[in-house]
Every structure is written in C-alpha cells, then in structure tokens.
Amino acid sequence: MYRYDNYDQAMIDARVAEFRDQTRRRIEGKLTDDQFKPLRLKNGLYLQLHAYMLRVAIPYGTLNSRQMHKLADIARKYDRSYGHITTRQNIQYNWIKLEEAPDLLAELATVEMHGIQTSGESIRNVSADQYAGAAADEIMDPRPWAELIRQMTNFMPEFSYLPRKFKIAVIASDQDRTALRWHDAAVKIVRNAAGETGFEVYAGGGMGRTPFLSFRIRDFLPAGQFFSYLQAILRVWNMHARRDNIHKQRMKILVHELGEEEFRRQVEEEFLHFETLGEDFPQAEYDRIAAYFAPPPFETGLSEEIDRSDPDFALWVDRQTVAHKAPGYAIVNISLKPIGGIPGDISADQMDIVADLAERYSFDDLRATHAQNLVLPHVRKSDLYAVWKALDEAGLGAANLDTVTDIIACPGLDYCSLANARSIPVAEKISERFAGRETELGELKIKISGCINACGHHHAGHIGILGVDRKGTENYQLLLGGSGAEDASAAKITGPGFDEAGVVDALEKATDVYLAQRQEGERFLDTYRRIGMEPFKEAIYA
C-alpha cells in the first residue's frame, strides 16, 4: 500500500500544528464558535449530542496492521475502547474531548493517518472498491488513482469553501461495491479500444433529502486529464451553486436545475480552459504511486481445496468469502454485524485481533467497506479455517454478508445532533427478529437512517428505513426498491410511517410478500422490480 514520503508527512504534520493552534485560540476565546466550527469540521471533529466525535479518514478504505493497532490504542486512550466504521469507509470515535483532539491527531499522523476533510463543506475522503487489488473482476487496481485523487483534493485552495460536501468514488470493475452513482462525482476506470486507460466520469449524485443518481458526464476521459476535469466540475459548481439555502447547495441540485446537457456543456468549456494551464499530474507521478500498490507476492501452486466438514465453517465460507484473482486465495469479509449488535461498531480488542490476522494471513492488508464491515483481501484458502476460528472467538464470526442481518445504520439519535430518531435500536430489533433466516431470504440489503441526511443510505436500501420526528415522537418510514450497486436505483416510500415495533412488523410483511411471490433465483429487489409496490403496500397496510 501507499507510504508517505517526506512531503506527505510534512503536510499532515503541518495540519496537526495548525489545528493545535486553532484549538488553543478557540479555548482562549480568540476564535468564536462560529469561526472555529468550519475549521474543526475540516479536521473531522463534530460536536454531537454528548461529546465531540472525531471521524478519521481511511483513504479508499485501505489500512495496514500498524494503523489498525494505532486505531485500537486511540480507542482505549481517547475514547471508550471502541470505534464505528462509517458508510464512507472511515472510522469515527464518539467520546472525544476537544482539548485532547490535537494530541489524538498527532498520534494518528505517526501512522500516516488524519481526519482531514472528513466533514464540512469539503472534498471528502475518496472511497474505492474494498476488493481493490484482489477482485477477480477488476481491470486494474483502482487505488493508485484514488491516492492520486487524494493528493489532488487535499488542501485544494480554490475549493476551500465549497457550497456543500463533495464525495468521490473510484472503481475498476463492472460490479460496483462503492455506491458509485450516489456520489457527487465518480470514476469507473475503463480501457478503450486502443488499450488506453481512461475514466467513465459520473457527476451529480447524492442522497440527503433530495436523492439523485449521478449521470454519465463523460464516456471516456483520458486518465491523465482528470485533474483538469475535476477542477472544471468543481469550479462550475462553486461559482453557480445556490448559497442561500444549505439544503439546496449540493451539486446534484445544480445539475438538476441546469439539466445534464447544460451542466456538461459548462464543465466541458471550463475543462478546455483548465487544459491550457498545464496543471495535470504527470504519468510519472501515477507510476510512482502505482509501484506502492504492486500485487503482493502471491504463492503459486496452492490448493483450492477447503475442508468443509465443519458446517458452521462451511456456511461462513459460503457467505463471507469471495473469489480472488489469484489461484488458491480468497477475499474474506469480516462481519461487524453480530446478531443484536450495533452495526459497524468494533472494540479496541477486536481491532487488535483483526490487525494481527491481517498481518499474519493477508499480506498486512485490511479494508473497510461502505457497508460497515471489514475485509481481509488476500487469504490463502488453506488458512480460512484458522482465520474463521480466530474471528469467531473474537465475536466476529457472523456469516451474514449482504443478508437481512447485515444492516447498515447511521449512529442516529443515540449520538448524532442532527438525528430525528434512533437507528441503532431498530437495527438491533431487525437483527434479532430475522436471525437464522439469512439463507431463506437471500441477498437483502437493509439500510437505516435516523434523519433525512441519509447517512445510513436508506435511499439505496433494497429495504430502507428513515427515522423522522412526528410531533415529538420517533416515527419510521419504510422504503422499498433502492440499490447502491451497479443496478442503482432510489427506493420509494411505502406510505405512512410506523413506530419502532411497527416498522419491524411491516418489514417482515414485506419479506413475506417476497417469499410468496418470488420466482426462481430472484432476490427481494428483483421481485419488487417485477411486481411493483402495490402487493407490498397491500400486505403492509392491510
């Protein structure tokens, strides 16, 4: 994986010093709260209901064991010995003290980590396929481009105060594991007929209160021109977005108001201008970065055999492992969704165990996923049993990837100052209600947000749940038919909302309709798309 050189290290060290100075000035009263707020947000520090929350960037979801051990140390030293994996492949801590935050960031900097641009009106940490470098279906490892985009977008002076947040994703496979089309901008790495590497570029996606899927703004952009193209997109948005209503300032709204053709025309015009400035990053810099992502030394001649005599292990293998590009290896998904647990939470002790497993069994490589799970990308099939045993002993052995109990949920009203309703108890109740039915119900992605900001991706859920405040009580709306994968779509609301117990009942009725109506090989989403909303509504509101 990528390693900082002296330049990268000097930049994040300077950032820590800057934030230490800003924190001091805030505590001394030289900065008002209004002035300090955007500064701390650009370093990932939110003020939540009970304490400060710090969101740490995991660039393109990639970690090594040293970094994971440091995250565990930080959880023990500055928090309550746990962390929470987010829907942007980051990790956040919930119980941070402002006066300790600079020291925390200084510790992170010792392992090449930071909280830069993980919140606020900035270009957020770039996300990428969690199977990068391992996926059987990728045309190349997308992470060198993701790292290049990190360097393009950190501390970008012109876009110091964007109208709103801006999220970028990078993939290099036909299968999309990043919710690509829900990003403000995204690239799918492709090769053209001449064998040149380029990007399909997407723009204008986003969740929040007004969900939009992005549109393909460019079919093929030569990869070396991406910095100019990205600057063009950002400048058109920065200059022309509304600034009068924070709820209408995301780029998706501008794209919608201008129309795709007019937005594209303006971007292409600005792009021609940027191309004359000669600011694009050269091939040599891509090559320098790509060398860090050279494939690990995979052994050859390994056995493909897996001893499936332990049925629990066999189930876990079937559910949690995915085809690897190298013979004899598998990609292992580590579930952070134990039955009845808090989605995405991981204890400091579990972090240490996972870090050790990554070091011993996966070439020191570990990933975080937007579905709030972890991945060991390169595990020998002959080691799977040992890995499973260790995970199971650590409470990380759940076999539920992409099933009814693999729920995405935001922190909700248990932590978040923006939330209208709690998410975690709903996730726990669904998990307990449906435990053991994962195989019966097949692939079923449930996503829960505690407010309209949609951090829990409810718009992209096969079944989504949105918590709202109705006259002072928590109320939950049910949505059906969303997807964050390559078949992306926005979920539609079923009708009037429910209380906490009622929404779990309604969800079960929806799955009953699916079981009664499904045809051979159909997932819940496929059945919904074939038969439409009506049969579900009839059952839910009968």
Binding site: Y7, P157, N238, E285
Partner: protein
C-alpha cells in the same frame, strides 16, 4: 492588530472601488468590487485598466471569491486583489494561493496569527495562482 494586510510592494491606490456594473459603465475607473455571485469573467475585457479588485466575502462559508480571484490571475491580471468582508486569518494561506495579495478583514488580524497562517504549509499538492511548485514537480524534478 492589522486592519489591512498587504503583500505587495507597489503603492496602494486610494480610488474607492465601485460595483462591477458601475465599473463597466465608467471608462475611467480603476478599482472594482466583485460581490459574491458576480460573474468575474465580465471584467476580463476591461482588465488592462484595473489596478485594484476587491472581492467580497459576505460570510465565512461563501467560497465563490476563491474562484473569482483565480480566474483573474489565470487571465493574466497582475494588479492587486484584496479580500474584504468576513475573512478569517486561517484562510489567508489558501487565499494567497488563489491570487489574493491583500486582505481587509471585518475583524483585524493578529499579526502573529497572520504570519503563522502564511507560513503554515511547507509544500503544496497542486498548482494554483501563486506560482508555488507542487509536490509532484518536486518529486520528479
């Protein structure tokens, strides 16, 4: 405390800045004020008579002025670009990178804070309007 921080050596003009529309209507004005939301490119045909461009930041979080300054520098403008309004000292490094070379904030700067801010980052990742050499060029000679 600094009411104005100026990073240029030439004599400042004392001509009051007028709005973009007034400036384009008057053939003898040389100081112009760009409000957030003004299309700064309308000024480009008249750049040869501009000595001072003030760019207003009506609120801290309105970042349109960063693009306005850079567009002027990209068009070859060499005169003064002054940031006025809700300008926080913590932002002047990035403002300078975009082409600002003077600052008249609503709330005066602490001189020490201003020096710290200007010298905060030893390197830059990207090209901008200040001519600083980005890290990728340093890496590859």
């Amino acid at each position: 405390m600094l009411d104005v921080l100026r990073l240029r050596d030439d004599e400042p003009t004392d001509e009051p800045a007028v709005t973009l529309d007034s400036f384009l209507d008057q053939s003898n004005a040389s100081s112009v004020r760009i409000e957030a939301g003004d299309d700064v490119r309308r000024l480009l045909p008249a750049l040869d008579r501009v000595r001072l461009v003030e760019i207003d930041f009506p609120k801290l979080r309105d970042g349109r002025g960063f693009s306005s300054a850079r567009i002027l520098r990209e068009a070859g403008y060499k005169g003064e670009i002054k940031a006025i309004g809700d300008v926080l000292v913590d932002l002047i490094f990035f403002m300078q990178r975009c082409g600002f070379d003077s600052f008249a904030p609503n709330k005066p700067f602490d001189p020490e804070d201003a020096q710290n801010a200007l010298n905060r980052y030893p390197y830059v990742y990207q090209d901008a309007a200040d001519g600083r050499v980005p890290i990728w060029k340093l890496r590859h000679g």
